[in-house]
Symmetry: C3
Subunit: 204 residues, 3 copies
């Protein structure tokens, strides 16, 4: 079950990579490459940091196959109609949610404490999208003012909290993911954001 | 033989790093640092992803020595005459070719299937140049419209295909590299490109 | 002692991350995330490259606690008064110094030769700040014209040279760090720089 969620995560992040690349004049393989970086970036960093070899997508071809299929489907779709408004942000929200949860789960299974679990979940969730935005020379979503990393942190805390009160892991995973997605979508829809750090004039 | 090709690969990528850095006001050591990141970025990622320790340049000083020598030679050359038009792209094409092939070879030797071999070759080839372009705040070559990642993929497929029909590995390596370089140079010279993904208006 | 220097290094780099993020409209957690990337980026790359698992901050919560505390303190400070002119560059100089030294030390302890030690120290020192600047879409400090990577290299060479004449390691570490900081601050104050690589017209 969680395995299929993981595949769904790489699929939506792959789609978000194609959406981010679409006005960058990339050809077919360039677009698939960006999709792949976006989809496996977070999980790969998670596995590298935890010293968890082999990396998840190296031993299981379904990840790459899913990414390529999702990227191609997105490209074909875009031939017929434009991406609906905000689709990149929505696809990104799903990827963020699933990757934050799976990063947290792996850190938890490896026996790490809550601080590392929160940190690893958040980094796993945001790194793929950051790579996508940096490589396609876009302003990273994480730098936009709506709730972003905060959504991932809230989801991982929910996941940890539910397990602390004996909720089964798979259910805690799902609820945590729903929390991330809901927070992000609500934040995008109504422009919610935490107070930002101050905008004083900078002198350097 | 392939070892010397590998050294040639780091040399041309080091030179491409200096060329990319030359209008960025870097001093000598800054330029060498960018050259080094460009030259070892792809191979280092390859080794990290395959869990292949120690990393290639850590156990063999010739890589760093070659990089420093190539960077210095490029810097000295630039004191006397400007870089010929398109030299950055040509140096990049050679680096892309050799690194795509050596990434593919290492993945193949580690027993991985064709999908991982293609993927690892492509990533090894493009990552050094991506790092160079991101760090020097340039538009990544991979985002230009001519054939780029596609050239690496075609070269790796050639390398795999030739070995499948019993061509010796070293020859397959060389022919694959020639395919990458030819595709890139032809694409640059005549502005060839695959149809890009569509440029519909984006709304997010 | 050196452990506390290391904690001081992550603290100042965390503060520099918040300073770099402050006009980017990040919320609290976004700012802490950038602070964390900046503070652990260099050391994490060092550990990954040397195959040194577990990564330093994964087994010792004090690093993350220090980063969060330093980031929060910086955010609170900025509510009351603007950052003094050049504070980002000064915080960066301290982080650069400590991380360059600790990267060099780890490489030396792992038995590597001088070339790798210099290289590893320099990369450890500059990578956190590079990540900070790329992720916050700023022009990387390393691309500014004052002495930067050069300061790290000079510090590591001092560290190696002092040990070669039997100076105790901890003292060599401290003197090396002072060399880096002094070079950077002098360079910033009086605009010192090595002659840059030439600015010939580029044609590609």
């Amino acid at each position: 079950m969680i395995y299929y969620l993981d595949l769904a995560g790489v699929a939506v992040f792959a789609a978000s990579g194609v959406l981010a690349a679409q006005d960058r004049d990339l050809d077919l393989f360039g677009a698939i490459l960006i999709a792949t970086l976006t989809a496996i970036g977070g999980g790969t960093l998670r596995d590298l940091l935890l010293g968890h070899h082999p990396i998840f997508w190296i031993v299981d071809n379904w990840y790459l196959v899913t990414i390529i299929a999702a990227a191609l489907a997105t490209i074909v779709y875009l031939q017929f109609r434009p991406a609906p408004a905000g689709l990149l942000a929505v696809a990104d929200a799903f990827g963020l949610a699933i990757f934050a949860m799976s990063g947290a789960r792996l850190a938890l299974e490896a026996g790490h404490g809550p601080l590392i679990v929160v940190m690893m979940g958040t980094m796993t969730g945001v790194v793929g999208g950051m790579l996508r935005d940096v490589v396609t020379a876009r302003v990273p979503l994480i730098l936009q003012k709506e709730i972003y990393a905060t959504a991932a942190i809230a989801g991982v805390l929910t996941y940890l909290g539910l397990q602390a009160i004996a909720v089964p892991e798979a259910l805690a995973f799902a609820v945590g993911a729903v929390v991330v997605i809901s927070l992000r979508l609500v934040a995008i829809r109504w422009g919610l954001n935490l107070p930002s750090t101050p905008r004083l004039p900078r002198q350097d």
